[in-house]
């Protein structure tokens, strides 16, 4: 059987047997999405290369520890995101923001957002805002998960997201 035709479970078993073709297949299946996630968080292609490499080494080394309770993609993404955050640890500074009031405020995105402009605006965000915004709005993590990964409170995660959105909106004004 070719590796391309393998199911996820068969692919995992082959990777556990150190089958290099299977490892390449697994890498090919997830590398694009994971590289994109790494780039979104780091905003640096070179750093994203390092993150992807380091993360996949961890993935293959610890694949035996994957319990198959979640999807393989979710497990891989967690490792990639954690690796990226670890690389960004020095740059990510959570500014002390007031956790209240923003619940009542509204960020108006208008009726249309251009994805390319949004991408540029995301990359222009400070590392702390960017990380929280990407993890929640793009990668789909909850505030609780983000708080755990970044070692911050849920309230801080919420306020960071709010101010990230506000800043994004302001940046997107010039593209209107």
């Amino acid at each position: 059987m070719t590796t391309a035709a393998m199911t996820e479970s068969e692919l995992i078993d082959a990777c556990l047997a150190s089958d290099r073709l299977a490892q390449k297949e697994l890498y090919d299946r997830y590398s694009r999405a994971m590289y994109t996630a790494a780039y979104r968080i780091t905003s640096d292609f070179d750093l994203a290369n390092d993150v992807l490499q380091e993360a996949f080494v961890k993935i293959f080394r610890h694949l035996a520890g994957f319990r198959r309770e979640s999807t393989l993609g979710a497990w891989i993404k967690t490792i990639v995101v954690r690796t990226a955050l670890s690389r960004m640890r020095r740059e990510i500074r959570m500014e002390s923001l007031e956790d209240h009031h923003h619940q009542d405020q509204i960020v108006d995105w208008g009726h249309h957002l251009d994805a390319d402009y949004l991408e540029k605006a995301i990359q222009a965000l400070p590392a702390g805002y960017r990380s929280v915004f990407v993890m929640i709005e793009v990668e789909g993590y909850s505030h609780k998960e983000v708080a755990d990964m970044l070692d911050i409170s849920v309230g801080t995660s919420k306020s960071q997201l709010f101010y990230a959105k506000k800043k994004l909106r302001k940046s997107l004004e010039k593209y209107r």
Binding site: S18, R20, Q23, K24, Y27, S31, R32, A33, Y35, T36, Y39, R40, F45, A48, N49, L52, Q53, F56, V57, F60, R61, I106, V107, D108, W109, G110, H111, H112, L113, D114, A115, D116, L118, E119, I122, E137, V138, K165
Partner: protein, 204 residues
């Protein structure tokens, strides 16, 4: 009344008398305009844009570096397995030897009957072996002195020297036991003594 307020009735009265304001004239037009736009929640606009964000493919060099790293990992793992196997083999060998040694030491072995007999060692009789002719020669020596022949005298002196050597070796045999070298020496002396004794008898 709230514990944090005083003269609240005054506040209420003042609040009731607060002025009312009319909205600006153009507000309705603005509301009307908003109502004609498609009703898309703000967050959905964002989500839609997020879904269309570009994706990026990693450069080939990432996999190449990763593959090299995995190769190194595999070699290290194989080496570790070989070492573990060697350690296990040695441990098994040592354990086997210990068990075998313990079993051998614990095993009483076949029953062996030890028998012994006591033998009386015969004392080395040097005098008896070699001194039998001494008394005969002592009797002959008196006659030799009377003959006083130079050739016989020479033989007599030689005999006496050999007799002296015989006594020395006898003493050593008594002191050190039956040393093979001493016995050979004694045999040589006795052979020479017998030879000279024979020559003396012939000369007489």
């Amino acid at each position: 009344m709230s514990a944090f307020e005083k003269n609240r009735d005054k506040l209420k009265k003042a609040l009731d008398q607060l002025p009312a304001y009319d909205p600006p004239a153009g507000l309705w037009d603005q509301i009307q305009s908003d109502l004609t736009k498609p009703n898309v929640p703000n967050e959905e606009v964002l989500h839609e844009a997020v879904e269309h964000l570009p994706a990026y493919a990693p450069p080939v060099s990432v996999w190449n570096t990763l593959a090299r790293q995995l190769d190194t990992d595999q070699q290290v793992r194989q080496l570790r397995v070989v070492r573990q196997r060697q350690v296990l083999q040695w441990a098994a060998a040592v354990a086997f030897l210990l068990v075998a040694g313990y079993a051998i030491l614990r095993e009483p072995g076949p029953k062996v009957k030890l028998q012994y007999a006591q033998e009386t060692v015969q004392q080395f009789q040097v005098d008896i072996d070699w001194n039998s002719d001494e008394s005969i020669f002592a009797q002959l020596e008196d006659q030799l002195v009377q003959v006083n022949d130079p050739a016989i005298n020479k033989l007599r002196f030689e005999y006496e020297e050999l007799s002296s050597a015989h006594e020395d070796v006898s003493a050593m045999l008594k002191s050190y036991g039956r040393d093979p070298q001493l016995i050979r020496q004694m045999a040589d002396i006795e052979r020479e003594r017998s030879d000279i004794y024979r020559q003396i008898i012939e000369a007489i």
